[in-house]
Symmetry: C2
Subunit: 340 residues, 2 copies
DNA sequence: CTGAAAGCGCTTACAG
DNA sequence: CTGAAAGCGCTTACAG
């Protein structure tokens, strides 16, 4: 009598089972399922029928080990406390999930070192693609991405550089447009107040500077840059500081809605009439901005579309399809409400 | 001359390289690294030195394929638009990352069907552990978890049931305590306003009901239950409806801060004095609640601690250690501010 | 267009 | 306490 094979079988239906049922070799079954190379349509049909019948689901670990890449996509965002990135993430995750890819989420906390560590550990899982926020990262992280050979799409900002894929908007132009809006409203002394000071914020600052300079109204005392993390409370603190300035400002353009909402609440507390005494504008059109008293004028950024489009572009790259439009600019919209 | 081996080597340092450098077998190297069984301390030292020297990093895909479980942990949360779950996630992810585990995040959108699909696809990756929000899920999802044999810890709620692991707080008691606070403030007609109507909200409702009944003040017209997703805007809508009720309520206990913040803003718009005309209370102490006008009285839930503790408990289960305290109640705190 | 063989990098089960 | 063999479930590289 033969010794029982020492089986470690997990009980799951394997590709070998499918192949046997379809009466083809495992390789053919594999190719039929992935749509790779030309396989006789009749065999493809037999394989698919067997998959259906047996309820076969590919094993991601085995696939990742055998092939260069698995079925996960690495996504790096600065923070989840900012609703912007939650929207981005959810949209990207949705598109990727529908294509059979899982999302591996890393939160960098705006820290280049942490980003590198996260990416390193994500790379171990052989992701099929990478999604990152913006272009600002350490040289080593950049090299990790390039060296991995894994396709990568950049989110939120745009770049037409060679070999770079991006879906976003011109943060500078958006900053410029909002400043134009305030100028058109007759405001002259327009302060720019920012926190966190991440690259996108600095690009908005540039837009504000250009518009102010063109109008001959720029002055360094109008710039309020605070590297602390953004929050409603900090918005209040900044507002109190700025509104006490002499000569008085007549508008404050906050680099994001968190700050602007905090400023609006602080104005309420202080009894400073908005927009009569000072106009207030924000950025991103986050939840609640339309509920403020008065409702907040802001820049609506199409982050859900950005997340979905970027994921779609990455999917193309993963499949080896040629992407003709390497840089997609989804624009922005100035949402005028009662605060300006 | 021999034919060159057809190598598919990825160039990465493998366990075999480490074993060779340390002059032990790969199995011994593997055991030394995982701390499994007793290995001669001297060999362990040699292996560790080789790991150090060669910069060896284990391949998660290979490990997942060969063993029953990989180095990822599945985490299921209802929504990321609720800051509560972002805090929970970040804390859990931090603890898991420090132990070498990656987090696989699934967002269920409060949908039992979606939860099942997400879990199913996460399970394919052979997670080492599972973290889920609360106890409310479909029977099939429950069976998927049990059938997988993967350890699971429940977040946010508590249960002392046999074989169930949970870290959270008594949502019912928290609802009861906040109602007691309002009663102690002399409020009599206290409405309970809720959205989403997830299980935790319903438990808070129970706490409110018990307190109101004990005080002989409960009435069905005081219950405002709306199944729509929670938002600032909905809070405003509910506030407007409730405040117009006859006879008038003198307090509204909202099931979460989103709603309560929206109500506070709506009160400002309508010119309804809070808390003079009506007191307002929330739940969770989300960002911004302390910045409201007036600042919001709410229940602070220790979600960061819950996330960290739950992850730590899961780690113990993964390592096969015995967990004596299967149910950890981290409590809550009534944060009294000016809105009540 | 199809397949037998080998291999991805680890761990399990068995034996000593 | 240690190891040679086999295997996890897939895909690559080669050959026909």
């Amino acid at each position: 009598m033969q010794k029982a094979p020492r089986s470690r079988a997990t009980g799951r239906v394997t590709l070998a089972d499918v192949a046997q049922a379809a009466q083809v070799s495992p390789i053919t079954a594999s190719r039929a399922l992935r749509g790779e190379r030309a396989v006789d349509p009749e065999l493809v049909a037999r394989v698919q029928a067997a998959v259906e019948r047996l309820g076969y689901v590919p094993d991601p670990a085995a696939r990742a080990l055998a092939s260069r890449h698995g079925t996960q996509v690495a996504l790096l965002v600065p923070a989840l406390s900012n609703a912007l990135f939650v929207d981005l993430l959810e949209a990207a995750q949705g598109t990727l999930a529908r294509a059979g890819y899982q999302t591996l989420i890393g939160v960098t906390h705006y820290d280049a070192e942490e980003e590198e560590q996260l990416l390193r550990s994500q790379l171990l899982h052989r992701p099929a693609g990478i999604l990152v926020s913006g272009f600002d990262r350490s040289e080593r992280t950049r090299q990790l991405i390039a060296g991995s050979g894994v396709p990568c799409v950049h989110l939120m900002e745009t770049s037409s550089a060679e070999g770079v894929y991006s879906v976003g908007l011109s943060q500078r132009d958006a900053g410029h447009a909002m400043t134009q809006h305030l100028l058109a409203r007759g405001r002259r002394r327009i302060a720019f107040a920012a926190a966190q000071l991440d690259p996108r914020t600095m690009q908005r600052l540039e837009g504000w500077r250009d518009a102010m300079r063109d109008a001959g109204l720029h002055g360094p005392t109008l710039e309020w840059l605070n590297p602390a993390p953004s929050s409603l409370a900090l918005g209040g603190v900044l507002f109190e500081q700025i509104v006490g300035q002499v000569p008085p400002v007549d508008a404050i353009f906050f680099c994001n809605d968190d700050l602007a909402q905090g400023a609006l609440l602080c104005a309420l507390r202080m009894g400073v009439p908005v927009p009569q005494r000072v106009a207030i504008a924000g950025f991103n059109d986050l939840t609640g901005s339309d509920q403020m008293v008065p409702p907040l004028t802001t820049v609506r950024t199409p982050r859900a579309e950005i997340g979905a489009e970027a994921a779609a572009m990455l999917l193309q790259l993963i499949r080896g399809e040629t992407v003709t439009k390497r840089c997609i600019d989804l624009g922005f919209e100035i949402v005028v409400r009662a605060s300006t």
